[in-house]
Symmetry: C2
Subunit: 446 residues, 2 copies
């Protein structure tokens, strides 16, 4: 059995490693365009924040280990240029100029995603960055240490934009954030989004909403971001307006695409061709709440899907139920978390959705150190089923969201969730956990 | 409708308040033996730890508020002496010496639990305390402030014993803990219990296991705890060897009792008599995993059961599914949490149970501030169903346990739980959450 993997990051290396653990004699080859494999991409903002750490601290397992200890034929600097599903072969351009063909019995396409770079003048100027690969991170870190960067503009206020805002702020850089939308995190209720905005401005960041970046110019050795209204000067720019799946190779091979042009896969991670799997940021998934295809590229899914592919290549039939889009991130002193559908997403998906926002506390009545926690919960009026929720708080939001994610996987109604026996102790929450208080409030709207 | 409540703490006052919210014209009377109602009992150790706070900070709502704003006829210093289920009346001895009869249409018995006081010589000596009521807390606090207390002995290493050990240690008191059992927290796997013991000894506490308290003596103005092997001198003693339900009144009225002599109730909180309900620490519950009656007196259930009684008295038929015994507490710098059954409890309940203990981290690979988290998960080999688990860690254990509690309520298998889409960000955990890593490990034992 020749198992060929295109892409050596989370999904690809998880699959390759597990394939060898499953069957030590399996012929496993990984083609990776860059020279980096198996690194903690999500750790990059925190690494960048700390000038005492080097980017390679984020490497979880080195290429030599995959080769020597795990027996994986890991080829760096090898870019797949085309896939022949009929001939079961992948054409490759190597960094040394050679072109090669790699035959396979089973293929995994784990080509990931890339940051969106708007086609505007100046996007390629020095000092203009994106952040997706370890190499992107190295470039930012090098830029921060090799010259004086006092001010930065971040275009885009999604997870990466917000985490990098914190990172640059931690390095003493004045950060100005810009977003096309009228406010931060559109899936959060307005009240909760306002808390996030306030946290940023309280730390001295400038925020400009409803503004479109139209060009970047060089101006006296600095950068000038030209917006549709106004201009912002900065020493460094980060474009963090989202990612798109690297699905061109798969599309050219005739594989079906799903939402946002991600590679369409079934619950076994199989593409439209029976011998080709896709996993990681390039592949779509079924949403646990809607049952529909969705593209939400996140790290846990990539790892999980990689494992499933390895098992399925070895003859199992592991089916992944799907994703809830559960995510958490830190914004300065805030924990922001979500899972499932927001009220707007639920309504778009056709649910007769209602929601509630409640304000509770992170610790018991009268316990010192109490912080406010806001919880948003959405449910389907027709069935009473929980659809999703979000939380914002200075403590206790990050891990609480998983209880809601489990409830979504179980298809629980709001009442079933409300009846769950949660833990209570004064240092960790009120008797009625904020999630239960939200569920109780939501019951009144059903 | 005359709704009479015996007991003015969590269950009783929750029921009384909600009954008035449900039907403002309902005649609601509460009989409370003491002069305290509606206080955060679980907050007492933290209050005692802080000499700057007074015990009454823990009162959530004052008697006057219940009377004036909520229209509840709240009678303090009124002790119910007997219940006549046929005649629908409760006999009461008031503190002023009067005896009265209170007729009712529906009765709630919410008489709570009391700490076990072993019948040994010296148990009533000054300086020997228990901790259950606010008055108990006041006595301890008064004792700590009115004389010099340098050393304390705590008999019993359950939640209260451990929380009070932290509280007294925080006040600079040398604490010696004694337990009959050979180790702390018998529902924790040995490795995890050892972490808790080490945390206590690392903070300078002395621990004596396998020792029985046989007497307490006065000795040169101090206390001497006489054990079956040896003696321990201390300025103050706390007996925290558990609680028993105050079910004598109910038993004398002919109501059926359940495990540990708690008052047996159905899922609507009704006792064996159709017009009498019981809720709170005096009543039993159905365990969500075994489906069997169990007595695990905890605060959330008391509040929840109180609400259910209020709704059912008003004509609803709210059925509570049951409890998972989810609990969390802080021991010095550790968070200790559990839900469902331990492996031993599962085996006792007749399951062909297997379990696993894994060691994971509270933050991502290479993220600063990483702490170890230990997770124990148990499952039924026959069905793959999750049965329970526990966690110990310096951060991230307290709130994670609720995800497992929800899974138990949903009756999830280990594999279903493993497939849940958990949140990930480097400051809050590894890509594979410790709970998922434990589930994956447990799958191998099934």
């Amino acid at each position: 059995m020749r198992f060929l993997v295109i892409g050596g990051d989370a999904a690809g290396m998880s699959a390759a490693s597990k394939a060898k653990r499953n069957q030590a004699d399996m012929n496993v080859t990984v083609l990776e365009t860059t020279t980096d494999v198996s690194y903690s991409a999500c750790g990059m903002p925190y690494n960048i924040a700390d000038h005492g750490r080097i980017m390679d601290d984020l490497v979880v397992r080195k290429a030599e280990v995959f080769r020597a200890k795990q027996g994986i034929d890991l080829l760096l600097g090898h870019r797949a240029t085309s896939v022949d599903p009929i001939g079961h072969a992948v054409s490759v351009a190597a960094n040394d100029g050679n072109r090669k063909e790699f035959p396979y019995d089973k293929l995994l396409v784990a080509t990931g995603a890339r940051p969106i770079r708007p086609a505007i003048p100046g996007i390629d100027l020095p000092g203009v960055h994106v952040l997706k690969s370890l190499e992107d991170g190295r470039k930012i870190k090098h830029d921060l240490t090799s010259r004086e960067v006092k001010t930065a503009i971040i275009v885009g206020m999604g997870y990466i934009g917000l985490e990098m805002a914190e990172a640059l702020h931690a390095r003493g850089i004045s950060v100005h954030m810009v977003d096309l939308l009228p406010r931060v995190l559109p899936w959060l209720p307005q009240d909760m989004a306002d808390i996030v905005s306030k946290e940023l401005t309280d730390h001295g960041l400038e925020l400009t909403f409803g503004a479109k970046l139209t060009a970047i110019q060089e101006s006296h050795g600095r950068l000038r971001a030209v917006l549709d209204h106004g201009e912002i000067d900065a020493d460094l720019a980060l474009i963090a307006i989202g990612v798109i799946p690297n699905s061109e190779l798969a599309a050219a091979a005739g594989l079906a695409l799903g939402p946002k042009n991600a590679i369409a896969v079934d619950r076994t991670m199989k593409t439209s061709h029976p011998d080709i799997y896709a996993a990681g940021d390039c592949a779509d998934a079924f949403h646990i709440v809607t049952g529909k295809r969705v593209w939400i590229p996140l790290a846990l899914r990539a790892n999980r899907a990689g494992w499933a592919v390895a098992d399925n290549v070895a003859g199992a039939e592991v089916k992944l139920p799907g994703i809830a889009g559960t995510a958490v991130f830190k914004v300065m002193g805030l924990e922001v978390a979500r899972t499932g559908l927001s009220i707007e997403e639920a309504q778009e998906a056709g649910f007769d959705a209602v929601d509630t926002v409640i304000k509770s506390r992170s610790r018991a009545h009268s316990h010192p150190g109490n912080q406010t926690i806001h919880v948003n919960l959405a449910a389907d009026k027709a069935t009473g089923r929980l659809l999703g929720g979000s939380m914002v708080g200075r403590e206790g939001a990050a891990h609480r969201i998983d209880a809601l994610a489990v409830a979504l996987h179980a298809g629980m109604t709001v009442d079933q969730f409300f009846q769950c026996d949660f833990a209570y102790a004064p240092p960790f929450g009120p008797v009625w956990d904020p999630l239960l208080t939200a569920a109780n409030q939501l019951l009144k709207n059903l």
